[in-house]
């Protein structure tokens, strides 16, 4: 098959990105493990400069929903997507600011390897740690597929089918495994820096190009949108989904909370050189998280103006295909290549950290805690690498078969809620709440019941339940899961024995002392 010049440039850009990623992730001396231990592989600590954390963690947090998902969302729902401000600032300024420095201090003191390890230590329950690891992994491993399918679809489409979808899936997965299997989270961090830069370049570069198609005139762009679909400029948006109740409940309860306490973020909090660096990073990272989405209004609505109806024939159809179709047709090959590389970067930068973070939980809190207790560090390190490899392959297989597996769609749909329901458990461990303590059983039942409520109010029809259970009273399912998880956490905690005094001493008293030392109250300073 003859390759056109445009395809060759796109392939060259993607190949260049891949080579750079493999060099940074696999050859640099920085990524080498400093010692052959489970902790060093899954949770290296105290080495990342502040500026690099900003890029890398931003890329890690943004999933394939950033590229190409957000453009498709704008195309379908219109300016309603600007609700992203609720989470692109709120996550960092509220939840990350609250939990990040505390998780850093606790891990540095007690050597917790994972989020579930920390939870198990506070509640004095290896069973709870294993339950958290399995519960979150079950949902998030399915979510890995979203970070593979989006970039793979764009990669296959962008190369004009030269790379088939299945091959694109394995290309995305194999590149990630090439650096994560040998080098663990260190390689995740260094590659995420580059991926973060490519993602910013892709969205802003594309926005300037689309605006240039309207003579650099935003009035012309949005005036055209007002002609073809005025609903796209106001709420409830193009398809009427973003009602005031969804606007209120979806971004905060389904995204903002879980984004700050994801297991992959736990690993990231440990990379910083100090708790103060984590705190400052939480102040600055909203700029990255928001800046990715600021120009997307141009991309999504510019596409709506240029192509009012989504593609109905061809290899890729529907609203998500509209923006890539415009770019494939009109954008300079160089920019089109950067956009495709940016999409691959968006998916990989989340998938790699997810892959290592969840493997870490399963190895440390399930395998090491229950299945093989007294093996050597060498053994656990080898087992960890094998698990990263296996989970990567499983994610790849599921991605190629996802369309035939409704369970995957369901798990992807509730994966964020399944992490959000960890909130009472996490806060119970790291935040004193007056005389009230979340207990082990309060934590367990709040996660279980919260997860069930999330599932039932997201997929009642698929579960054979009444339709009115879908987003009851117009509020998103995550809102109901949030209420359920807190009610259960409080009621069960009041009725069951509190955490041991030792846990309060080691966690709450310790944090209180550390935070007072870091940020002395006024009278102590005087």
């Amino acid at each position: 098959m003859a390759i056109e010049a445009r395809q060759a440039i796109v392939l060259g850009m993607v190949a260049g990105y891949i080579i750079l990623i493999l060099i940074i992730g696999g050859l640099g001396r920085f990524v080498r493990l400093k010692e052959k231990t489970l902790t060093e592989y899954f949770r290296p600590s105290k080495f990342a400069p502040f500026w690099a954390m900003w890029f890398a963690m931003g890329a890690n947090m943004h999933t394939a929903f950033a590229i190409p998902g957000s453009m498709g969302f704008y195309y379908s729902h219109g300016a309603a997507f600007t609700v992203h401000w609720v989470w692109t600032v709120g996550t960092a300024m509220i939840f990350m600011y609250l939990v990040g420095p505390r998780m850093h201090l606790l891990s540095a003191k007690y050597g917790h390897v994972t989020l579930s390890d920390m939870i198990g230590d506070f509640y004095k329950s290896k069973g709870l740690a294993a339950f958290v690891a399995l519960f979150v992994s079950a949902a998030n491993i399915a979510y890995f597929t979203a970070n593979i399918i989006g970039p793979a679809t764009l990669l296959s489409f962008g190369t004009g089918g030269l790379i088939s979808f299945d091959w694109a899936v394995w290309l995305v997965v194999l590149i990630v495994m090439a650096y994560t299997v040998p080098f663990g989270f260190r390689s995740v961090f260094y590659t995420d820096i580059l991926q973060g830069a490519v993602m910013l370049l892709a969205t802003w570069g594309s926005a300037f190009f689309i605006l240039s198609m309207f003579g650099w005139n935003s009035w012309a762009l949005f005036g055209k949108v007002a002609e073809v679909s005025p609903k796209h400029l106001t709420l409830p948006g193009g398809v009427g989904w973003m009602t005031p109740t969804i606007w209120f409940s979806w971004p905060f309860f389904a995204i903002t909370i879980q984004w700050g306490i994801q297991p992959r973020n736990y690993q990231y909090y440990q990379l910083a050189k100090s708790a103060e660096d984590v705190r400052k990073m939480c102040l600055w990272i909203p700029i990255y998280l928001s800046a990715i989405y600021v120009p997307v209004v141009i991309l999504g609505l510019g596409t709506k103006a240029l192509m009012p109806e989504p593609p109905k024939v061809g290899v890729w159809t529907g609203p998500d295909a509209a923006f890539p179709t415009i770019m494939a047709q009109y954008a300079p090959a160089l920019l089109w290549g950067i956009l495709i590389a940016g999409s691959v970067a968006a998916g990989q930068s989340t998938m790699d950290s997810d892959l290592v973070a969840h493997s870490g939980m399963l190895i440390n809190d399930v395998y090491k805690a229950f299945l093989k207790r007294d093996a050597s560090q060498t053994h656990y390190l080898a087992a960890g690498r094998v698990l990263v490899l296996v989970l990567g392959i499983v994610a790849g297989v599921i991605s190629t078969q996802a369309a035939k597996l409704p369970i995957v769609t369901m798990l992807v749909g509730v994966s964020g809620t399944f992490v959000m329901v960890l909130l009472p458990t996490v806060l119970g461990a790291i935040l004193p709440m007056g005389g009230f303590r979340i207990t082990k059983w309060g934590a367990f039942w709040s996660i279980l019941i919260g997860g069930i409520v999330g599932l039932v109010t997201t997929f009642p029809i698929q579960l054979g339940l009444p339709k009115y259970l879908l987003n009851p009273y117009g509020f998103h399912s995550a809102f109901w899961a949030f209420i359920a998880t807190w009610i259960v956490a409080i009621v069960i905690s009041l009725a069951t024995p509190p955490p041991p005094r030792d846990s309060i001493e080691r966690f709450h008293v310790f944090l209180d002392r550390e935070l007072k030392a870091l940020y002395p109250p006024a009278k102590a300073k005087a």
Partner: protein
């Protein structure tokens, strides 16, 4: 056991902490509740949708104030 008595508060209750909590409450209220009521208009400054202009203004103000406050001594 340590003799130090734990202080059962959520965050170090400094001026900085209080301001950040106030920002979170005010700005999330503006974004989650007020936006659909006050900014749901088709066009605004520079031709951009009103809702986009309003949320950008609120969001960037929160970021600027948050960073400035976060660098206060306490």
């Amino acid at each position: 056991m340590s003799e130090e008595k734990p202080i059962n508060h959520l965050i170090p209750w400094t001026t900085r902490g209080k301001l950040l909590v106030i920002y979170a409450a005010v700005f999330e209220f503006l974004l989650m509740v007020a936006t659909p009521i006050v900014a749901n208009v088709p066009h605004s400054i520079g031709g951009f949708p009103g809702i986009w202009v309003f949320t950008n203004a609120v969001g960037w103000l929160w970021i600027i104030l948050g960073i400035a406050t976060g660098y206060m001594k306490r």
